[in-house]
Amino acid sequence: MAIKDKVENNLTMMKKLLIFTVVMFVFGYAMVPFYEKFCEVAGINNLLQPDTLSQELETDTARWVTIELDANTRGLPWDFKPLQRSVRVHPGESVEVMYEIINNSDREITGQAIPSYSPRFLDKHLKKFECFCFTRQVLKPREVKQMPVQFVIEPTLPKEFHTITISYTFFELPVGTPAISEK
């Protein structure tokens, strides 16, 4: 084989491999929407969309579950607290609790609340119809805002759990961050 052909062959090979490299780079990024979709379809980590009930739940009046409410902020000058420390409900019963946020600063701040549950698998037994955490919250300077969370604990919650905790943490969103619901 002539030397020129050999060089050309090598360059063709390099081009193919470079294209493959770029494809794999893009693949890394493609994993982001892929995982998002995958989790949505599989119902994993579904923290930020309202749930719907497929059928009426039967209320298990024989059991009581205490729901402790917790609220935190991370790096933003807000006061954030539940208006009641805990509620006591029957599984299957629809509950509404109120939270309050106060902007202590003189600037408008956008925040996003992220839920966290204890026990960790609680999200499987928690159906949330309304929550301030589904969208970002914009607070004007010194504004006070009360917001509801509406949910139901399904009777499928294992019997040994008498007390569960629902916690929210507010994070500040930098200006220009697209809201989760817009993504």
């Binding site: 050999k6 062959n9 090598n10 090979m13 390099m14 491999l17 470079l18 493959f20 490299t21 770029v22 494809v23 794999m24 780079f25 893009v26 693949f27 890394g28 990024y29 994993m31 982001v32 995982y35 599989a42 994993i44 980590n45 930020l48 991370r74 996003q112 992220i114 960790r120 994070f171 500040e172 969103l173 930098p174 220009g176 961050t177 809201a179 989760i180 993504k183």
Partner: protein, 528 residues
């Protein structure tokens, strides 16, 4: 160091190339670049080793004595990064540079200039990693896997580390493209794929894994950088991102990466064992298929690194079974090596000792890998010293022992001089003893629950930690002996025999003089 190189390649005097430092800066010769890769990785090996000595010194006794916790974290982080990206990977690329063109009968690598670039990219990356210790805030301290949120929060040191990883990744991709092209397009007439030496096969498959996995690493590093500086929220929970997503993308790179570090070691061992058993490699084609199967399986097991990160049971089961499946092709290789030795006329020179030591200890690391793959056990031992013991058995007594074996095996071919056999054997036995002393006890520490990456520990772990530290210091000191042996070999006046290993069958031994001339196979050999 340049002077040492000058001596090694003094025989290249009839060729026209710049002399002094410019020879090394501008060289496109695969042997020069191979030597530079090997010296570079040896330097980084001692840099990472220094950090390891720091870690073991701190863990010598309970309490905080030498390293503040923050600095200790930087030590573990940079020890991992430097050993993986600076020592083991470039060392194998060094071997590839020296050996692949000679073993397939090619005059040089396919893209000689790019080869030079991929080496010189390593230097700024190494400087970034090492100098990050001296910037405000110190070096990255979130572990070599740089999970967010820690890596999203750290200071300048983290940026330097991320940039260094980017550069090292680019260098590896270029190296891999070079190797694939060389192997596929530049083989001598008659050298069909299934006649290639096993080392070339394992490197071909490794190079494919590199171009598959490294760009994903580049992607995830880029996401982390934009999260840190440009307001994106890939991994930032506050902006709707997910830190666990990082782990998934990172380990999609990270698991093939561990096979990138071990497959070329399999290749080196597959060259050494037949030579010193004076028999052809048993089950050559099954070796090729086993290597390919390991490579393919390595791409579908990444989530076994994150069993405790939260995953549906179905996912855990899939990744558990897929991981355990890797034991099958790996066992094929181990049985093939053993069968090669069976009824062979074996001699036990230093390369063979390292190769047998490799098989023996790598199998221990492989078995503890299968144990870690079992979900309930993994949940128990994850992030403990059991995992540390496991991956040091596959990376130190696996990858590193194979590198030592390969170095002793090919030193006569590279330098034209014989290494000191007695000292080589000392190097092996001391390494063997101290390695096991350092790492075997870590299995017990891990099973008893000692967590990794923590500078202090409960009192009941004290004795085993002291044994482990003494072993580690001994292992570290022993490696200075290796440097002495290599330099002594290079400086030796006595020429090596043309073919010091009578069982060697590959082209560099059968078709080239010793030492290998600066330019080899300008007219390709014909392979029957």
């Amino acid at each position: 160091m340049a002077a040492v190189h000058g001596d090694v390649h003094g025989h290249g005097h009839d060729d026209h190339h710049p002399t002094g430092i410019m020879r090394w800066v501008t060289t496109t010769n695969h042997k020069d670049i191979g030597s530079m890769y090997l010296w570079f990785s040896l330097t980084m090996f001692f840099t990472g080793g220094f950090l390891a000595m720091g870690i073991r010194a701190e863990l010598f006794q309970p309490g905080i004595q030498i390293l503040e916790p923050e600095l200790f974290n930087s030590f573990t982080t940079l020890h991992g990064l430097i050993m993986v990206f600076g020592a083991i990977m470039p060392a194998f690329v060094g071997f590839a540079n020296w050996q692949i063109p000679m073993m397939v009968g090619a005059p040089d690598m396919a893209f000689a200039r790019m080869n030079n670039w991929s080496f010189w990219l390593l230097i700024p990356a190494a400087l970034l990693l090492v100098s990050s210790f001296f910037v405000p805030g110190g070096a990255a301290a979130g572990g070599w896997t740089f999970y967010p949120p820690l890596s999203a929060q750290g200071g300048l040191g983290v940026d330097m580390m991320l940039f260094a990883v980017h550069i090292l990744g680019a260098s590896s991709i270029m190296g891999a493209i070079n190797i694939i092209t060389t192997v596929l397009n530049m083989r001598a007439p008659g050298m069909t794929l299934m006649k290639m030496p096993m080392f070339v096969w394992t490197w071909l498959i490794t190079a494919y894994l590199l171009v598959l996995a490294m760009p994903v690493l580049a992607g995830v590093v880029t996401m982390l950088i934009t999260d840190r500086h440009f307001g994106t929220s890939f991994f930032n929970a506050a902006g709707g991102g997910d830190p666990v997503l990082f782990q998934h993308i990172f380990w999609f790179f990270g698991h093939p990466e561990v096979y990138i570090m071990i497959l070329p070691a399999f290749g080196i061992v597959s060259e050494i064992i037949p030579t010193f058993s004076r028999k052809p490699l048993f089950g050559y084609s099954s070796m090729v298929y086993a290597t390919a199967s390991i490579a393919i399986l390595s791409c579908i097991v990444w989530a076994h690194h994150m069993f405790t990160a939260g995953m549906p049971t179905v996912g855990q089961l899939f990744f558990m079974y897929a991981t355990m499946l890797i034991a099958v092709p790996t066992a094929v290789k181990v049985f093939n090596w053993t069968a090669t030795m069976w009824k062979g006329e074996m001699t036990f020179e230093t390369p063979m000792l390292f190769a047998i030591g490799f098989i023996f200890l790598f199998v221990i690391g492989g078995f503890s890998g299968v144990i870690c793959a079992i979900v309930p056990i993994d949940i128990q031992v994850q992030d403990t010293y059991y995992v540390i013991a496991h991956f040091h058995y596959v990376l130190v007594s696996g990858a590193l022992f194979a590198l030592f074996g390969g170095a002793y095996y090919w030193l006569p071919k590279w330098t034209g001089h014989m290494y000191d056999e007695t000292l080589g054997k000392w190097h092996f036995w001391l390494s063997m003893i101290f390695f096991n002393m350092a790492f075997f006890v870590q299995h017990f520490l891990g099973l008893a629950g000692m967590p990794r990456r923590i500078p202090d520990y409960a009192l009941q772990f004290a004795d085993f930690n002291m044994i482990s530290s003494i072993g580690a210091f001994g292992f570290g000191l022993t490696q200075l002996l290796f440097v002495y042996i290599v330099i002594k070999c290079i400086r030796s006046k006595e020429p090596a025999p043309e073919k010091p290993w009578d069982g060697a069958k590959t082209l560099e031994w059968t078709h080239l003089p010793t030492p290998a001339p600066y330019h080899s196979f300008e007219t390709p050999p014909v392979v029957k």
